[in-house]
Amino acid sequence: MAIVSFPSSILKVTNLAKSFGGVKAINDVSFIVREGTVTGLIGPNGAGKSSVVNAISGFTRVDRGVVELAGHDITNQAPHRIAARGLIRSFQIARELQKLTVLENMMVAPFQQLGESPWRALISRRAVMREEREHLAAAVDWLQMFNLFPLRDEYAGNLSGGQKKLLELARALMAKPKVVLLDEPMAGVNPTLAKTLQGYISRLRDQGVTFLLIEHNLSVVEAICDHVVVLAEGAVLAEGQMNELRETEEVISAYLGG
């Protein structure tokens, strides 16, 4: 399969491979994500979608292949370095910071805060407080959008499953990422709110944020993804627009059924 390297590709994955013992989670995966798009990553359970996200974000070391972010080779870099380059990922199973409040979860997200240096925290209290106010304002905005504002002072561990997913997404966006990898962000979120989230994702995309979205709900994929990559058994089966893929033989037999 030919990979056309668009000049506007912000994330490029080439010949990625990863095995866990005998299990080949990623066989040979190549695709690109163009800047300012929502790219869907779909496929059956165990296809390797989460593994690809883990590989891109540095959480698993790949055996082979290259991951490039905005032209930089980030293959097997430490997760925090990759995040520092503006790539933020969410986790399939929400991982809230339990004994931090919802608002604190949000406040952890901004990158390179002044007060994260112990020295600055001690001596530049004024400047740190000022920065905290700015981040607070942003956090409050996000929480209001995600209907989490009333729960702001609740420990994140006490949220419901769906609320944790929302917090996971809100926290990722709070980090002002350039590229966001979302692993089933709408799983467990009620339909109305899921619709709202779709709207947010589309609008953020219009503002230049790039998304790689893992999602099993194909109507969501169809509604917001500009381009869709189908994985099966650790390899790219097909890619294109969702409505084209619905007609593709391999995709139907491997994933869609019917």
Binding site: S57, F59, A78, P79, H80, A83, A84, I88, R89, F91, R95, L97, Q98, K99, L100, T101, L103, E104, M107, V108, A109, F111, Q112, Q113, L114, G115, E116, S117, P118, A121, L122, R125, V128, E132, R133, L136, A137, A138, A139, V140, D141, W142, Q144, M145, F146, N147, R152, D153, Y155, R171, A175, K176, T196, G199, Y200, R203, L204, Q207, V209
Partner: protein
Amino acid sequence: MSSLVFYLLTVAIFFCIYCIYGWGLNLQFGLTGILDFTYITFVAIGAYFAGVAALQPGNGGIGGQYILGWHLPFPIPPIIGGIAAAVLAILVGYVGLKRLRSDYLAIVTVSVGQIVWTLIGNITPLFNGWDGLAGVPQPFNSVFQLDFNHYQWVFLVICVLFAALGFLIIERLTHSPFGRVLRAIREDEDVAAALGKNVFRYKMMAFVIGSIYAGVGGALTIAYIGAFNPSGFTTMETFIIWAAMLVGGSGNNRGMILGAFLVPVLFNEGTRFLPSPPGNPLLAESIRGMAIGLLLIFAARYRPQGILPERKTVFRLDGLPQGGEAGGDRLVPQ
């Protein structure tokens, strides 16, 4: 001065020192989740280095043999003690903190404690071996020319000042974005890393800062007692500090003050007044250990977060720039 006043002063001084120890351990474990099972080793390194920084050069004779012997005036020895503990923490941290699993560091710390204890005991030229250091000059005593009893007051003031400064610093760190990152790491290292935090670096900072508290506390201890030897840093000592933190409330620096009062002062010192049956001198010591153990078990059963648990951070939102409501215009907060 009555012996009771003298005794109470001694207890007050150790109370301050235990607070300092506790805050350091609290930063490491309570905030960051680092399992440091040899905290007392960092206390000891601080004590020894502060001791040899304050002592005259060793003559190898009655005073014993030891390194340095710089005869530096207070408060330089505690600074050196803090630095020495920090250096050891960096070394231990490089070995133990690189791994993701927290139990790995726990094992490393236990081993380091054993190694350091054995080395210091057996290599006499370092810190005079099992006999340890003695005759460490008391801070400012040559200035005030006070008798031993009145000097207690001076030393209490010194300790209160150190503790006050230590509290101020630890409180600021705890309630800063730095402290927030540490707690995020405690809750889930992966999430912290996914948000761009260099987990190893933060854990190292928490470990080192906590060890500085240990080292300075140790420096105060040797400055007060004037002596220090390997019997002063056994596993039991680490246990007492841990117990104080867990009972008082890990993650809460005020809880730590309470814990320092309850465990080392009330349980450890208080039980010294229990009548010791003749012919069984070790019984009192054992009872002390058991009493603290029981206190821990009760705390774990009825108050697992400690008496004063970590406080919830509630941000004041008044006066914030007003944002849009859900679906409002300001989608990307600026």
